[in-house]
């Protein structure tokens, strides 16, 4: 390794030797700084002629030691003098004023403004979608079938296993817990009503929505976001391809179309799980369960469930595309928007679910 930086005071002169570079300084920075500090060396002549290398980090260190002025008496080679001159020409860096921390009112204000901004952009995206749909009706040859099909496959077909697994387990769990209670009242047969109504009307759609928001919503945001980071979106526009028709619309249409099917699938599997559990716990045979299901659960519940699926699917894709388009070209923004996209989608889904519950409160409840 290189000779380390050395500082000696010889007969009233400060003599530096060795390598004055960052790499050589770092291992013994404390000692060197201690030697330089304290104004002990102020006013002495400096001899840098036996310094083998002097880089800008060391030059800055020396310049600071000299209180930003040239020492009265300095011996230094021409080459190293240039390194020192470069450090000297830098104006003493102004301390960066810390930005004043804003109070809670200001922060709340910004939050509301951001909310309004998002709302505005969401409405614009919705309007753009309607315009695009109108355009596609007039020009059916431009319908992006391939993209729609690809999205249906990615968001729909690929989601079948996980929705089935989660649905089955939830069905088993609810059936098992309800059975424990119902047996106490001797009301075993009502397991069919409980499972039928809760899964078909409520749990199926919400469960699938949460899964799809986490699975496909985040993927959509990240995909559009990376396309923005890498300027692919701009490249599309430059080729005269509408980004909203080619990128946004297929996602919206595909997820809206595929969600009711996923809800149907997940609800069916959840009911199967419930049936298995009911058979094991209460000894209710499959045939009895299926026969009673038709009686206990009016078909309106299925319509409500599928309708929710349709709306939830649209909301998830809408929110995902919105936040994807808001990604700024840096990694931090990409991760923040993906998180916001999933959180917003799930929150909105639950909010809309509550609205559904109120608006459909007189529908599909069996009269006993």
């Amino acid at each position: 390794m290189s000779p380390s930086p050395r500082l000696q005071v010889e007969s009233g002169r400060v003599v530096l030797s060795g390598e004055w570079t960052l790499a050589a300084l770092v291992p013994q920075l404390r000692e060197v700084e201690a030697q330089l500090a304290g104004g002990r060396l102020a006013g002495l002549p400096w001899d840098l002629s036996s310094v083998s290398r002097l880089d800008s980090a060391a030059a800055v260190l020396l310049w600071r030691t000299w209180n930003e002025s040239w020492p009265r008496d300095l011996v230094v080679s021409e080459m190293h003098r240039r390194a020192l001159e470069r450090a000297a020409t830098m104006a003493p860096a102004a301390t960066v004023a810390a930005s004043p921390t804003s109070g809670p009112v200001v922060r709340l204000g910004y939050l509301v403004l951001a909310l309004l901004d998002n709302l505005r952009a969401l409405i614009i995206l919705y309007g753009q979608m309607l315009l695009d749909l109108g355009h596609l009706v007039l020009h059916p040859s431009e319908i992006p079938w391939r993209e729609i099909a690809a999205n249906i496959y990615k968001a729909g077909a690929m989601a079948l296993p996980v929705t089935a697994l989660v649905g089955f387990l939830i069905g088993v769990t609810i059936s098992y817990l309800s059975a424990l209670q119902l047996r106490n009242f001797g009301a075993d047969v009502f397991i069919v009503n409980i499972l039928g109504i809760s899964i078909i009307r409520e749990l199926g759609p919400v469960l699938v929505a949460v899964l799809v928001a986490g699975r496909s919503g985040s993927a959509m945001t990240a995909q559009i976001g990376v396309m923005r980071v890498t300027e692919e979106i701009d490249a599309l526009s430059a080729m005269g391809v509408s980004r909203s028709i080619r990128v946004v619309l297929p996602k919206l249409l595909a997820l809206t179309a595929v969600m009711p099917l996923l809800v149907l699938w997940a609800s069916a599997i959840a009911l199967l799980g419930g049936m298995v559990s009911a058979l094991l716990q209460l000894g209710i045979p499959f045939a009895y369960f299926v026969e009673n299901l038709q009686r206990a659960v009016p078909v309106a519940n299925l319509v409500i469930g599928l309708g929710k699926g349709l709306v939830f699917g649209f909301i998830i894709a809408w929110v995902a595309c919105h936040f994807g388009l808001r990604v700024k070209p840096n990694t931090e923004s990409l991760s923040a928007n993906t998180t916001t996209s999933v959180v917003t989608a799930i929150t909105l889904v639950i909010l809309v679910d509550a609205v559904f519950a109120i608006m459909t409160r007189n529908m599909g409840i069996p009269q006993l």
């Binding site: 290189s2 000779p3 390598e19 570079t21 960052l22 790499a23 770092v26 920075l29 083998s52 290398r53 002097l54 880089d55 800008s56 980090a57 800055v60 260190l61 600071r64 080459m79 190293h80 240039r82 390194a83 470069r86 450090a87 020409t89 830098m90 860096a93 980071v229 700024k328 070209p329 840096n330 990694t331 931090e332 923004s333």
Partner: protein, 253 residues
């Protein structure tokens, strides 16, 4: 410093396998301290891959890469880090941290040392910015707000932040206007004189090559087919060199 005769980078019998395709096969290259080596070769001939081998981002399928006299692949992780601190890399696309402003990008490697105070770091960052002809005010910009040429210059400033002994440059002047390319070459030349910097650069820019390089390595057919002082190689009759020489630029070497 053990003299100007030590090899900074030495590759012996190096083979690189990506997928099932050989990018390099039995490649030899020895770069001595203080040399400025221009690495030229056709598009896709594995120039960037060779730089990645030096950085230890790829493992050789065969042969070895010695950096500062030690094999990076078998070195202890602590020694590896110490070795990597002695080199600076300018990536082709800049590879700036997109979430950090320019100032923090350049300050990042300095802060990683964990022993410099804020004032020192600030001065050094401003010094590096000045070296690449940027102003302190540019430090607040985010990488996404920079032009292509500015990205290059910030990336160079970051590569220079730790005062490296070895500088790896991937297309350093692509995207710079001729004036800037020239001042870039002058800056590197000066740094090289002052600090004994060793530089390996991939370039397509004949002007920069002529201005800066002391040696030229020609990468073709998965190995270094020519290596030697600039004038010797450029006077040679390898088809690639001839094509490079005649490549539209009228510079007479």
């Amino acid at each position: 410093m053990n003299g100007a005769t030590s090899a900074v980078v030495e590759m012996r019998g190096l083979s690189t396998l990506i997928g099932d395709r050989y990018v390099h096969r039995d490649l030899d290259l020895r770069v001595m301290a203080g040399q400025i080596v221009g690495l030229i070769g056709g598009s896709g001939s594995g120039k960037t891959t060779l730089l990645r081998q030096i950085l230890g981002l790829l493992r050789p399928a065969a042969g070895s890469v010695n950096l500062f006299g030690e094999d990076l692949a078998v070195a202890h992780p602590v020694a590896q880090r110490a070795m990597l601190r002695r080199l600076g890399m300018l990536f082709q696309g800049g590879a700036l941290f997109s979430a950090l402003p320019v100032f923090d990008n350049i300050a990042f490697p300095l802060r990683e040392l964990k022993c410099l105070d804020d004032d020192w770091i600030r001065r050094l960052v401003h010094l590096k910015l000045a070296m690449v002809e940027l102003e302190p005010g540019h430090g607040k910009l985010m990488p996404a707000e920079l032009s292509g040429g500015m990205v290059k210059r910030v990336a160079l400033a970051r590569a220079l932040a730790l005062e490296p002994e070895l500088l790896l440059l991937d297309e350093p002047t692509a995207g710079l206007d001729p004036d800037r390319s020239r001042s870039f070459a002058d800056l590197l030349r000066e740094l090289q004189r002052e600090l004994g910097l060793t530089v390996i650069m991939v370039t397509h820019d004949l002007d920069t090559l002529a201005r800066l390089a002391t040696h030229v390595a020609v990468l073709a057919e998965q190995r270094i087919v020519e290596f030697g002082p600039l004038a010797d190689v450029m006077a040679g009759d390898h088809p690639l060199v001839a094509a490079f020489r005649g490549g539209g630029q009228t510079k007479v070497l």
